[in-house]
Amino acid sequence: MPVGGHAADPRPPDAEGPYLSVIAASRNDEHGGNLLGRTQVFVEAWLSQAKRHNISSELILVEWNPPQDRERLAKALRWPADTGPCRVRIIEVPPHIHARYLHGDNLPLYQMIGKNAGIRRARGKFLVLTNIDIVFSDELCKFLAARKLESGKMYRIDRTDVGEAVPVSAAIDDQLAYCRSHVLRLYSREGVYPVTAEGFREIEQDDIVRPNGGIHLGAGWFPIERPQTGAAFRWMDGEAEILIDVPGRGAVLELEVEPGPGAGLEPGPKELSVIDWNGAHVGTWMVSGRDTLHLVIPPPPSGKTQCVRLRVPAGGTPLPHDHRILDFRIFRCELAGFASWKSPGASSLTAMRRSRPTLARFIQVTRASGGPLGTARAAIRLLRRRGADIFETGVECRLGHGWLGVEDAELEKYRWVSKDAQLMARVGPSQSFAIVLEPGPTLGFQPFTLVISAASGQVLSRIAVKGVTYAEFSVPHPVGSIIPLIFSTEGGGTPTGEDPRPLSFRVFGFGHGTAGAASPSTAEREEWIALTVDSIAAEIDWGSTYAAERKQIEAMGKPAYLHTYACGDFTMMAREHWFDVRGYIEFDGYSMHMDSMLCYAAEHSGAREELLRPPMRVYHIEHGIGSGWSPEGQNHLFNRLSAKGISWVSNEDIAELISHMRNTHTPVIFNPPGWGLADDELPEIDPVAHETEVMAGKV
């Protein structure tokens, strides 16, 4: 059936054409092993789904160069008597057309040209190009049936590889159940990842999350990279999912991160934000270097794994040669452990003796100011209950920045605090905290006001500190929650002493307050809190690394990094986009990268990629041959091809093509208007009606 005409603006042949054309190319040659079995599953699964969801469609199988000694697909496959809203069309590309190509002896199936022949003759409003071992999930079919597809978009999806024993001729639900429970690996946008029995992506060696650490990585993470020096890391681009088993009372997530070139080449901190399990933006960090970040996670709505997403709102700056968008590097992602200091077991007498100078000064100050001596008892209690550090035994807390190391002299034990110190602590039954502290040299040892605030900036308490002071302050947070406390100072004297360190005050003891619990009505809603607890210089200054390419990078704007993994298994666009890019490159060589080239050409022709998310899935039935990829395998393949004089699209080609499209904002299309065997008459049959027709003239 020639389609001729080479119309620049294709219109569906008639308005009553199907909504969707499902197109694959094949031949009955046992390619990849169990080809007929897999094809049977594919055909049945689609026809059942089309029927169940009432999807107006056509299934086009392009049978390329059918082997003369084997049955045609129409005969070799079983067909239901009634295919409902889906018409089946088998379009044959006869051997004499195949014989036009240079490497016909070595390449029996020109898959991409075959697919083009199908595209050229498709009647659907939208065309999904796929393969003969793909099964669409229910949710995906529901989406297709809803007729929400849009022109101006290119729909892509992860490929989910499942075991090879998908039951042939079983009910679709049984087939899908098998697929759901036999997932082997995922072809995601960022890479190909093996999947655990629980359905998580496998944690790799030296990964940024620890095995059994209660955290898995979801979508959005590039593969682990292990540099020769320094820590292993993963890049993220735009958005990345962290799947956390959050304990019932909440947790603290600790991240070690550094901005990448994608976050921008200008100097200054880069924004990293957090999206909670409801999709709400709940926190933001400004990351200036290699920063350690804390995220206080409130108790989850239910006990199962929660998905928290990191997002780089102003990312997306491309690189000249690496087509990935490298917004942030994450080195570590784990639930923060909390120190809970225990008494070293010293007798209370020893503890008293070691606190005596502190207590002595405390009592002196209290007397002089005429304050209540009652607090002395509480102070003694706190100092006695200190563990190896300055914290009360049993108190869970974690130091942020601003704290100096513990100094444990013979008779006194304390930590110096510089300024704006942070402390994360779990709220005890009393919903209050107690502190013993004293002004330091930076404040001229003069009285000052200690201001304790929450992460939101809300002031929790103001404490007048004069000499050694004991104070308690209550917090409006529920028992068991973790809250960050920020200590700042007001007043004080001018700095004295020669110690160059900023030593605002020193803390001798910190623990739970003795006051009774605040009434529940004052308790605040649980909050997400994003804190920066440490920051050191960034390892790489991306601005200067890419100074020479700045102009090129700016001219590129913010191009998309596309999901091209296994895109031959699912690429869906409106018919006019397929015609605009003139289908896949019809290259007389080994079929590799051609589907990726198409995706980039489509993206740069105005069909913007949209990823369909789980539970929408396409399952790919495993087959023995050709599933694996390795660099050695690829080199071996190239050598074999080269020996036979067969050309291929190299990795370098595809990289340069993408760069070129990004640099020029223009697609690259490799076909003349006669693409898709437009000028050839191709026999077509409907295996269900068992009719053979050689359609002449235009569709």
Binding site: H6, A7, A8, D9, L102, K551, Q552, A555, E576, F579, D580, R582, I585, E586, F587, D588, G589, S605, G606, G645, I646, S647, V649, D653, E656, H660, N663, T664, H665, T666, P667, V668, I669, F670, N671, P672, P673
Partner: protein
């Protein structure tokens, strides 16, 4: 539209804005219009000129108001298609590049009504022979027509009658842009030799089409040759009849010998030799021939290169007449007119005349003469002092008489004296450069390429002609919003790999390009200024190495690289258009693009 004129056979598409680009722009454009309209009338060529006026500058007259044309221009029509600043501003780099020339040309091509569409520029004048060829309606679909560009001096009389215009062009040719490069033309119409060329000045050896410019990238200067390269020889009076040639096979040779044929103007092979590596050749020219136009033809080779679009089969480091010493030059400088020289003025069986010239500040004092046999044994030795009245130059004639014993030479039985034949003699051969590791290495995929070609893309923005259907197949020029350098070359290669073969129209068909001041367009002098301007405005340009990569890729894929969407040439925009020339000017009207 009513009263549709006869469908034009050819549409001529140019892009411009009234910004005095290149200086004296309107004058040059007027000459272009007059020459086309006048000649189209002369040869009765139904045609249209589509002037795409892109982003007209504010405060300056529209081109339609600044140019003139006859009330009745038939059988030619003029169509002014306007692309507004609003549309222009939607393209990237709008501030830096006021005219996206290729996109503008695409807009014109897309709207062309002719069966064939010529994309050219506003300062091009066609030769009458070319116009006659168009009028002969011999153009074919599936072909891309190209031609050399001949630059002429800028003083063209725009208002003059066509004949005078053309006459001016013919008499003021400055340089020609061929597929090998740009060449300054001498008074005789042949490319002049370069300084430090591979032949001596005035040696009577001139390079015609097929010789690349002198390449100074290596240890010694050389010239590559195309598969056919023309040589014009004029033997100095009395010189011996052999041409010595020093050359080397190039990377396109593959690993097999290359055959060099010497071909006469009728195409007959005179002599040939198989070459491999570095070689020295003697071309013996029949005694009676003193002037000749011959061609070198390369057989074999043709292997495409990875980083050079050219096919480099053979190169020559030097050509000289045997017996004519190359000028002896002082080691201190190149001012050889000041150094002492000895040259053979003439040589034949009876006498040899030498010219001895003293260097600056030198005086000829004494000559020593040894006459030796083949073994080096001196048969005669003499010396003489030079008369004091001869100070700078001495002509010395050596006469020899022979006494032959025994049989007369004519009776030796030889059928024909070999002196009357062309003969290529390999004097010396040794291994040449290892091209595999050189910059100009063969493409790794050379053996996968089905249809590689080196095309004539030099100056192709000034003349590229295809059928309208073929322009549509290729979606016109790449619509990169950057400086347009090299974009036209990519189109030529895309055409070739879409099965549209190149035809180079030969002399006397010519296009004349009216010289403008440097700083716009490509001229040898202006390239640096232009590069500076491009850099200053920080807008990208397609680099030469990228172009070569695209050519390499198209050769490997044997597929055209098309850099445009289906809506190329502003195909989804309505552009206001005014048609003049064949009838009263119409009001501006929006015409949808062809689809």
């Amino acid at each position: 539209m009513t009263a549709q004129a006869e469908q034009p056979y050819i549409s001529v598409v140019v892009a411009a804005r009234n910004d005095d680009h290149g200086g004296n722009m309107l004058h040059r454009m007027q000459a272009f219009l007059n020459a086309w309209i006048g000649q189209a009338k002369n040869y009765n060529l139904p045609s249209e000129i589509i002037i795409v006026e892109w982003n007209p500058p504010e405060g300056r007259p529209r081109l339609m108001d600044a140019l003139e044309w006859p009330d009745d221009a038939s059988p030619c029509e003029l169509r002014f298609v306007s692309v507004s600043p609003e549309i222009h501003n939607q393209f990237p780099n709008a501030a830096a590049i006021p005219l996206h020339q290729m996109i503008a040309k695409n807009a014109g091509i897309r709207r062309a009504r002719g069966e064939f569409v010529l994309a050219t520029n506003i300062d091009i004048v066609m030769s009458p022979e070319l116009m006659r060829f168009f009028a002969g309606r011999k153009l074919e679909k599936g072909k891309i027509y190209r031609i050399n560009r001949t630059d002429v001096a800028s003083g063209i009389p725009a208002g003059a009658p066509v004949a005078e215009l053309v006459e001016f062009c013919r008499n003021h040719m400055l340089r020609v842009f061929t597929s090998e490069g740009g060449f300054e033309l001498g008074d005789d119409g042949l490319p002049v030799l370069e300084t430090n060329d591979i032949v001596e000045p005035n040696a009577g050896i001139r390079f015609g089409p097929g010789w690349y410019p002198v390449d100074r990238g290596g240890a010694e200067p050389f010239r590559w040759i195309a598969p056919e390269a023309e040589l014009t020889l004029e033997r100095p009076l009395g010189a011996v009849t052999s041409l010595l040639m020093d050359g080397e096979t190039g990377p396109s040779g593959g690993n097999a010998p290359i055959t060099l044929q010497v071909v006469d103007p009728s195409g007959a092979v005179l002599t040939s030799a198989a070459l491999e590596g570095r070689y020295r050749l003697r071309l013996h020219i029949p005694d009676h021939i003193t002037k000749a136009k011959i061609r070198f033809r390369v057989q074999g080779g043709g292997v495409p290169l990875e980083r050079d679009a050219r096919i480099l089969n053979l190169r020559f480091f030097g050509l000289s007449w045997e017996g004519c010493s190359r000028r002896y030059t002082s080691s201190r400088g190149t001012r050889f007119d000041r150094a002492a020289t000895i040259r053979v003025n003439s040589a034949d069986a009876q006498q040899i005349q030498l010219a001895l010239t003293a260097g600056s500040g030198e005086r000829l004092e004494q000559i020593d003469l040894d006459l030796s046999d083949a073994a080096g044994q001196v048969l005669l030795r003499s010396s003489a002092s030079i008369p004091p009245n001869v100070s700078r130059q001495l002509l010395l004639t050596i006469r020899a008489g022979f006494q032959l014993a025994g049989q007369a030479a004519g009776e030796s039985g030889e059928a024909q004296p070999t002196d009357s034949l062309w003969r290529l003699e390999l004097l010396e051969a040794k291994p040449g450069e290892d091209w595999e590791t050189a910059f100009a290495a063969p493409s790794r995929f050379a053996h996968h390429m089905r249809n590689p070609a080196y095309l004539h893309t030099n100056g192709c923005g000034d003349f590229t002609l295809l059928s309208k259907a073929d322009w549509f197949a290729l979606r016109g020029y790449a619509e990169f919003p950057i400086w347009p350098m090299h974009i036209d070359s990519l189109l030529c290669y895309a055409a070739h790999h879409a099965g549209i073969n190149q035809v180079v129209l030969e002399q006397p068909m010519r296009i004349f390009h009216i010289e403008h001041r440097s700083g716009a367009g490509w001229t040898p002098e202006g390239e640096q200024e232009r590069a500076a301007r491009i850099e200053a405005k920080r807008v990208g340009v397609l680099q030469q190495d990228e172009v070569v990569k695209w050519i390499d890729r198209m050769r490997r894929f044997n597929a055209p690289a098309i850099f445009a969407q289906g809506n190329w040439g502003l195909g989804d925009r309505d552009l206001p258009e005014t048609i003049v020339g064949s009838r009263k000017p119409q009001d501006a009207q929006a015409l949808p693009a062809n689809s």
